[in-house]
Subunit: 123 residues, 2 copies
Amino acid sequence: MTQPSKSELAILKVLWVEAPLSAREIQEKAGPQLDWSFSTTRTTLSRMVDKALLRPNTKHGVRVYTPVDSKARTLSGVMREFFGTVLEMKGPLPTAAFHDSKMLSEMEWLELDRLLNESGDDD
Amino acid sequence: MTQPSKSELAILKVLWVEAPLSAREIQEKAGPQLDWSFSTTRTTLSRMVDKALLRPNTKHGVRVYTPVDSKARTLSGVMREFFGTVLEMKGPLPTAAFHDSKMLSEMEWLELDRLLNESGDDD
DNA sequence: ACATGTATGTTACATCAGTAACATCTGTCA
DNA sequence: TGACAGATGTTACTGATGTAACATACATGT
């Protein structure tokens, strides 16, 4: 699974709050922060579909996007990669330290902890 | 300060163990892991100088490279960036959780803690 | 002085990500 | 039914990074 880039992560974040959303809706929610033109948002969405980060669907005639992986699963991959390459920590990772990050709910932290610690393979 | 890429970080890591080193020496230490040709290593070194990640010097007629920033300073930047964008944690960051990472000595962890927590500006 | 081996300088090419325009298609309103 | 708005498809350009070869210069032994 390819890791999302910084920009792609920004888009995933809005879709984790609410999905599916159309390109137009995503632009409205993420565009201001990203300072992107609508075109740019669309290109990025298209590439994310290519990379299987998003799954496209057609609802009421428009194309809408849904994240393929849950927030916890995606972040566990990103965090594993980070800790592995930057800090060279391979085994179980400490996540309790971040539980006040607001990025994830208690439930999601539980899932992330499970993914990060219960061996490298996933369901 | 530009963040080092994954490959650049690998080179920094060998130079944090011992510096300055020549391109040839760096290749001997990092090449096998990176699986790079000597040419590739040299190109990367050159770009790192451009980005002010390394400072070149000439010792005994050969070009040697020294990291511009300490391990602690570099990693603090990388970690701040990561926690900011991925986990959206802006204030003081918890690092105690990683103290068994082996990447840094006690002294270096102290420096890193200081850099990460004592406001955004640095000396 | 010449050859041979390192060291250094220069150039090249692919891919990906950032950033965006142009072109087309289609449905809806007047 | 014709025009316009919005949706989708296609193409383009730049910079960074991965990856590497070619070409040249310099030192050292014979």
